[in-house]
Amino acid sequence: MTNNALELKNLNGGIGIFSLHDINFSIEKGTIMGFIGRNGSGKTTLIKTMLNMIPKTRGDVLFDGTSMYGNEEIVKAKIGVVFDSLIYPLNLKPTKIKKMISPFYKTFDDKRFEELMKRFDLDPSKKLSAYSKGMQMKFGVVMAICHNPELIILDEPTAGLDPIARADVMDLFLELMQKEERSILFSTHITSDLEKIADYITMIDEGKIVFSKGKDEMLDMYLFAHIDREAMTDVIKSDLIGIKKTTFGYEGLCTKNLKLQNLLGVKTARPTIEDIMLYMGAKK
């Protein structure tokens, strides 16, 4: 028995001219992995490759120790996926979609479906085309979790939701995590969502993993540094990650062990995930 809900081993693949290069990371059971990266960095491509919707060229994807390839029937029954836009036909009513999808899952919970529809104020008698974008996204979340998946993969699930709906969805995810050994891979641009719930953060850029670390470990490792123009030296410049020029000086990330905070004209603060994403992205 493995302790990993998901494990990617040297995964390579791609679509058109875009390709993923040797992707390696894993998600421990019972944890939430935040998956960040700029637009076009490869988040959705990686998720689709993991789900075998885009062919891999090399490597393997293990769900609870079982490879997706050749075992789709077993593996997909244990996964719930929410894509960045609704995948269900808009001309159908939620009840009809449930009838169409539920026979494929032995563990599909009809009661839970009704409960969640009520909780999110979704009218099952209305067609999906009559739902707002936020309501459609909530319906996607409902459908993804009604079969009690062990791993939930979320591709920008809170995009397009208003703050109240977003908070509601986030609460639901936290609630889901109360069940032991349930794991979430949460791809998002809204990094403030991850500050609340993520245990680990993985960043992808140009189809390569930039880092995959524990959130607290990562936030403790770096400092957000502001350096006055007069205090800037070539040594500091070379130590900063993703340096940016501002009106008053320079800004960038630095590792804590550099002790830049002790220098005159240098102010440091604990970075946010957004800072890390921003400056790591600008690193190259």
Binding site: G16, M53, P55, V75, K76, L92, F104
Partner: protein, 257 residues
Amino acid sequence: MLKKLITYQKLLLNSIPPIDIISQTPSKTLLYVFAFFMMVFMDMFIFFGNTMSTNSILPIALPIISIWMINRLLYGEHRLFETVPVSRKYTILNIFLLSVVIIIIVYLLYMFSMTVLLGIPLGIAYLVNPQSFSKSPPESAFTQIINTTKGDLLMLCVLVIILFTGVAITFIRSKKLKLSSFAGFTVISYGLLVFLKLNMPISPSSDKVEFLESFSIMPKANTILLCVSFATVIICIASVFMGYRLYVGKSNASKYY
């Protein structure tokens, strides 16, 4: 088992993305128009006689529509059918089955619309002036069926061959290779039909080569039909096998032709 199969067929049908004519690029529209006119021209060339019927056109038009729909299904942006837990083997068999289901649906729609379009005016005309309709049919329906049975069977085989080969080709990853395969297959198919027509005897009813009737009275019709039937079975099995091999490593290029 059967319930699951029906549900999956419904899921596949609902996974076909809606047709978006507006966002088609001019080159793609031109390609569609060119392909459509070529098909019409070739069908007229091969099947045109005094008694050109839908029996000869539909076996070519229906599988083409079905293949186009399957292509849209496989290369749609969101493939709902791929999110549910079923094996790839199950998916591939269902996609081939879906191609047949689409043909049945389109045929029923065609029959319904033709009944409405022709039936209503004829019905009104009959009610207004019943004397204008002859009481006896111009030709015995029984004789008509006997005359073209072999031709109809040949066209059924043609339909199945086009359908299964076409669906297998849609699984090819590379767009260029896929288009080349479609082009090659079209040239070979039409070439064989033209060759067959050139060797057909003149129909005694019209003094012209009528594809279905002429085939039915061909001296070697039985032998040809037997060979084509065998070929159909082999092509079907080979297409499903090839489709499976291609689908296991299928590309996700979301732009479809």
